[in-house]
């Protein structure tokens, strides 16, 4: 059962090959057996999952179900789930029981999907390795000495290991695409505003976006169709119709114009990763696409701009954790300032503190214009690079990450960790969609091909990714872990 795609699972549920209860129990058993080694879940909600499965089975018997009803999924622990712990990977929220559901959760519930639990993540989604989680690092199922990527590392590892058919993540600077690449699965970051941020714990509000991590582009298409759409409760959610993302998957690619940004193939790129990506591009040529080099001249300013804008927004968003209304509170505060300061000191981990301090510093008097205003101006130049490129080509392609998954503990210096996101971070600054698809292996660790499109081009990205997956079998490879331990 754990080898099937969402389309296959939906067909099997429909034909009565197995029930949702049997399917859910199967995945819960796999999590029980294997997750001690992976640490991909923060909480497993078995009882609720089995109850939801029973409801889905009953609805099916009564003839009232949608296509994804009864399929088990997992949620990054950044999505608020009513009545359940929602930790965001932080000690600050270790005791937080969310009083309401995120819109994404409501939409998945309405579609009849089952939630198996909440997946591990970098604390407050700040990280590229899943090592900053209060609940410990997640291991990569392809190699237990490697990181799974981050911040949606738990979601990616769980899907890759076959502990769940697909999972939801969020992406502020690469947090869906990079872990998808490191774990050999498919991950889509939609256009900013395509999916509601309501009930998703905020990191950097002008960059955050939710999306699916799954076994294939087709599975991502099914899930995006469920979670996308306008939401009055998120003022940045875009009022625009949601196309049928599955319908266009099989459109032929003849005449597709692909751009390869020369800045994505320069210094710092692992030559073996480059080789895998160029091989993938050749597959597209054989499918009728044409390829040309393009330039995104401000690429190297994306990480500097991001590390002003994201921490600035984070320092503001995380000011709500004050030890008064919810979350961690220190013992015996002497006065109100002591209550704030010690609750936050005890509740936040190192990386979160670093970003709060950077953001507070760059927003403070005397530094605001030199850093924050400047970074926002550069952000416009970065977005313009993409818009100019999309005048000439349909999609851009390149590596999702300069290297395959690195070893746990390998990146001790924060800046060297930040530089990992060189190919993903500009995409969030520009607000465009991006998808990472498996495109080979280097030293037994997966390589991701990143495909970028212009604003609201998700249907095209999914079509382009799906056609690659019809011509190759990288996305069908499974880690030995999936059979050995689960």
């Amino acid at each position: 059962m754990h080898e099937k795609t969402l389309t296959q699972l939906a067909a099997a549920l429909k034909s009565g090959e197995f029930s949702s209860r049997e399917l859910t129990a199967h995945f819960l058993q796999r999590i029980d057996k294997a997750d001690g080694k992976l640490n991909s879940f923060i909480s497993v909600t078995a009882e609720q999952a089995l109850r939801q499965a029973e409801v889905a089975d009953n609805a099916r018997a009564a003839g009232k179900t949608g296509p994804l009803a009864g399929i088990p999924l997992a949620l990054k622990d950044i999505f608020c789930t009513q009545g359940l712990k929602t930790s965001c990977g932080s000690k600050m929220l270790d005791n937080f029981i969310a009083p309401y559901n995120a819109t994404v959760v409501e939409k998945l519930n309405a579609a009849g999907t089952i939630s198996l639990g909440k997946t591990n993540m970098d604390e407050f989604a700040m990280g590229s390795s899943n090592e900053s989680s209060y609940y410990g690092p997640v291991k990569n199922p392809w190699d237990l000495t490697a990181v799974p990527g981050g911040s949606s590392g738990g979601s990616a590892a769980a899907v890759a290991a076959g502990l769940v058919p697909a999972a939801m993540g969020t992406d502020t600077g690469g947090s869906i695409r990079q872990p998808a690449a490191f774990c050999g699965i498919t991950g889509l970051k939609p256009t900013y505003g395509r999916v509601s941020r309501f009930g998703i714990i905020a990191y950097a509000s002008s960059l955050d976006q939710a999306g699916p991590l799954a076994r294939s582009a087709e599975d991502c298409a099914h899930l995006l169709g469920v979670i996308a759409g306008h939401d009055g409760r998120d003022s940045t959610s875009v009022a625009r119709g949601v196309p049928d993302y599955v319908e266009g998957l099989n459109a032929p690619l003849s005449g597709l114009k692909i751009g390869l940004p020369k800045e994505y193939f320069g210094d710092g790129l692992d030559p073996e990763v480059e080789k895998a990506v160029r091989e993938a591009v050749k597959v597209y040529e054989s499918l009728g696409a044409t390829v040309r080099e393009v330039s995104l001249p401000h690429t190297h300013y994306a990480i500097p701009a991001y590390y002003v804008i994201a921490p600035a927004e984070a320092s503001s968003n995380l000011s709500r954790y004050d030890g008064v209304r919810f979350g961690h509170r220190c013992d015996n505060p002497s006065d109100l300032i002591d209550l704030y300061k010690r609750s936050r000191e005890e509740g936040f981990g190192e990386e979160v503190k670093r970003r709060i301090l950077i953001g507070t510093h760059t927003l403070s008097e005397g530094f605001f214009d030199a850093y924050y205003t400047k970074a926002q101006q550069v952000r416009r130049l970065i977005r313009q690079d993409f818009l100019d490129a999309f005048e000439d080509v349909d999609v851009l392609m390149g590596p999702a990450s300069p290297t395959p998954a690195f070893d746990l503990g390998a990146k001790k210096d924060p800046v060297s960790m930040y530089l990992q996101d060189i190919y993903t971070i500009a995409v969030n600054l520009a607000g465009i969609p991006g998808i990472s698809v498996p495109a080979g292996f280097v030293g037994g660790r997966p390589v991701g091909l990143q495909i970028l499109g212009t604003h609201f081009a998700e249907a095209q990205l999914l079509n382009v990714a799906h056609q690659f997956q019809q011509a190759t079998d990288w996305h069908l490879q499974r880690p030995a872990f999936a059979e050995e331990y689960a």
Partner: protein, 95 residues
């Protein structure tokens, strides 16, 4: 622009974050490296470029000023560390 101990302590106070002397010196090192990297921005000429705060250049949507939410105080206070009679408890602020 170099980061000094006083910058870190000022930011920590503004962010209401307690830090020990040891931690402060570690943060001076980390933040210095980050600011060095960020300072690459200063080499771009951005004269006449307007700042971008929303990737789709959207403006804040407005709605009619009507009550849309019901009072859920009890629900929301269930996750609070200390409440009494519907009020959040904190150390005494006014004598």
């Amino acid at each position: 622009m170099a980061i000094e101990d006083s910058h870190v302590r000022r930011a920590a106070h503004l962010a209401r974050l307690a830090i020990s002397d040891d931690q402060a010196s570690g943060f001076v090192d980390d933040l210095s490296r980050i600011i060095d990297m960020v300072d690459q921005l200063q080499s771009i000429d951005t004269t006449g470029i307007s700042p971008l705060s929303h990737p789709l250049d959207a403006t804040q949507r407005l709605r009619a000023d009507e009550v849309t939410e019901t009072n859920q105080r009890d629900t929301f206070q269930r996750c609070a560390p200390a409440v009494e009679n519907g009020l959040y408890l904190v150390p005494r602020v006014v004598e």
